[in-house]
Amino acid sequence: MKTRTFIADLLTHAGLILFMIFLVFPLVWMIATSFRPTAEIYSGTVALLPESPSLDHYRTIFLEQKIFTSMGNSFIVGICSTLIAVLIALPGAYALARYSTRWNNVVLGWILGSQIFPVILVMIPLYILLRSMALTDSLIGLTLVYVVWALPFVLWMLHGYVRTVPLDIEEAAAIDGASRSQIIFRIVAPLLLPAIGASVLFAFVSAWNEFFFALVLMKDPNLMTLQVELARFTGMEGQARTGPLAAASVLATVPSVVLFGFLQKWFSSGLIAGAVKN
């Protein structure tokens, strides 16, 4: 019996390792490429570790303002849209959790319904609207779009957590004469910090990773976001620039992977399982 479990465990490890190689290897290959001198990249040798590692490609990226400008744009848009989204979602999430009127069904229906529609349907009129407001080619316009883009998830997540805050705490504050907004921002919000943290990370990562809206809305080279700049890199002008592209991609991946690492706790704590069951 014991040898049978031993063999079973061994096979499990073997299976898991195969999965890990498939899932992680492409990124490892790109990281290795980013440290290989150009000649070595095209030498046709198959080796995981670079023979003569160099930081050339990272230097190229540094000297080429473009990538850094676009990274800055992505940061600004990501941070602004995250702050706005969480700030306006807080009272909304509170209202969804604490009241039950017909608005609950309307809003929750929209949160789920908004997932069905392909972005192209929203994108076309949104483009026309933003153009008429002179908000295409504008970081403000893109920020607004990302706020709305992140809201469904942030609202959904926060409203689930507001429900776990005991009502008596609020009652006590109300007796002391606190107003509704004071209760929301001074009493409830601090108790929601873990959920707010997760929402912040989620909103930032989704803005940082977003491509389609930015591709359509931003044409000015100085206002491109990182994802659009990288996608341009793969086009005509990026031919035979495998090394710098790898270096830039590694830099672009770092924030996503690090923030995602923090988010993972919430993913594994059954948040998604709960969403499926509902």
Binding site: L16, V46, T101, I116, I120
Partner: protein, 294 residues
């Protein structure tokens, strides 16, 4: 003050919801409704909007590019969805055996999911690169092929190549969902069968699979929805080429609208996509309802 939880009107609630609702209304809901309407017009950027009924859909019937795009869209969506759920299920089952280092495996597997879709495309471009890519390097060194293959511009290989990249990026999501489902199956169910002396396979067929059906149905329909709407990774890998072979519906709609300016027609393609997705969701809800009745 004891009715703190009750004296709450819908206007009071609306006031709190308003800061979130206004941007949603302006930048999501109204554009969406206008977008659906534009699908019934002949609108081109800059021109006046004119209602033209079903003319866009009649045009689609004889539009070779539309049919090609939806054809590859279905192949892509069905294969990626099936493969990601099957592999995700396999991975989740392995993780659920809780051997040593499981938490390390569970973290590592998230890597593709954590990467921006554009980078997922770039990573695979570098794997498939004809000169510098690892795939050609390994195949040539192993003597399997003798000439470099340009995977992403070959009519023969481009669809499988793109699908492998797509599946790779979607496995973690499926595995996380299924794992959560596995962990919510009550342990005593297994103990009961084990007393009856059932083997692992019977356990899987008679308990795991039936208990997992609702989760699997949810994962399949959500993945179908997401995969049918894919844009970024394929855009970076092939831009829809070669010869429109990987022009998924979203790429087709994007090009119609923002490359050729046929905005009305692009919106009409979007409407057909909504129709397809609604049909899938409808059948999912039917599965759910049947489950609940039992």
């Amino acid at each position: 003050m004891s009715d703190w939880g009750r004296t709450r009107t819908s206007t009071g609630q609306l006031k709190l919801l308003l800061p979130a609702l206004i941007p949603v209304l302006l930048f999501s809901l109204i554009p969406l409704i206008r977008g659906i309407y534009l699908g019934f017009t002949d609108y081109r950027l800059g021109d006046p909007i004119q209602f033209n009924g079903l003319a866009n859909y009649v045009r689609m019937l004889s539009d070779v590019f539309f049919w090609k795009s939806f054809q590859v869209g279905f192949v892509w969506t069905l294969v990626v969805t099936f493969a990601q759920v099957a592999l995700g299920l396999g991975l989740a089952l392995l993780l659920n055996r809780k051997v040593r280092f499981t938490s390390i495996y569970a973290t590592l597997m998230l890597v593709p999911w954590a990467m921006p879709p554009i980078i997922r495309g770039i990573v695979w471009r570098q794997v498939y690169d004809p000169d510098a890519g690892i795939l050609n390097g390994v195949l040539i060194q192993a003597g399997i092929i003798h000439q470099q293959i340009n995977w992403l511009s070959s009519f023969e290989y481009v669809i499988p190549a793109v699908i492998v990249a797509g599946v790779w990026g979607e496995i973690p999501k499926a595995a996380v969902f299924v794992l959560a489902g596995l962990q919510s199956i009550p342990k005593d169910l297994y103990e009961a069968v084990r007393i009856d002396g059932a083997g692992r396979w019977k356990e899987f067929v008679h308990i795991t699979l039936p208990m997992l059906t609702p989760v699997l149905a949810a994962v399949v329909s959500l993945s179908f929805m997401w995969n049918f709407n894919t844009f970024g990774i394929v855009w970076v890998l092939t831009q829809g080429g070669p010869g429109g072979l990987t022009r998924l519906p979203m790429l087709a709609a994007y090009e119609e609208a923002f490359r050729y300016g046929y905005v009305g027609y692009a919106a009409a393609i979007g409407n057909v996509m909504v129709l397809v997705i609604s049909l899938v969701l409808f059948s999912y809800l039917r599965v759910q309802l049947r489950e609940q009745k039992q």
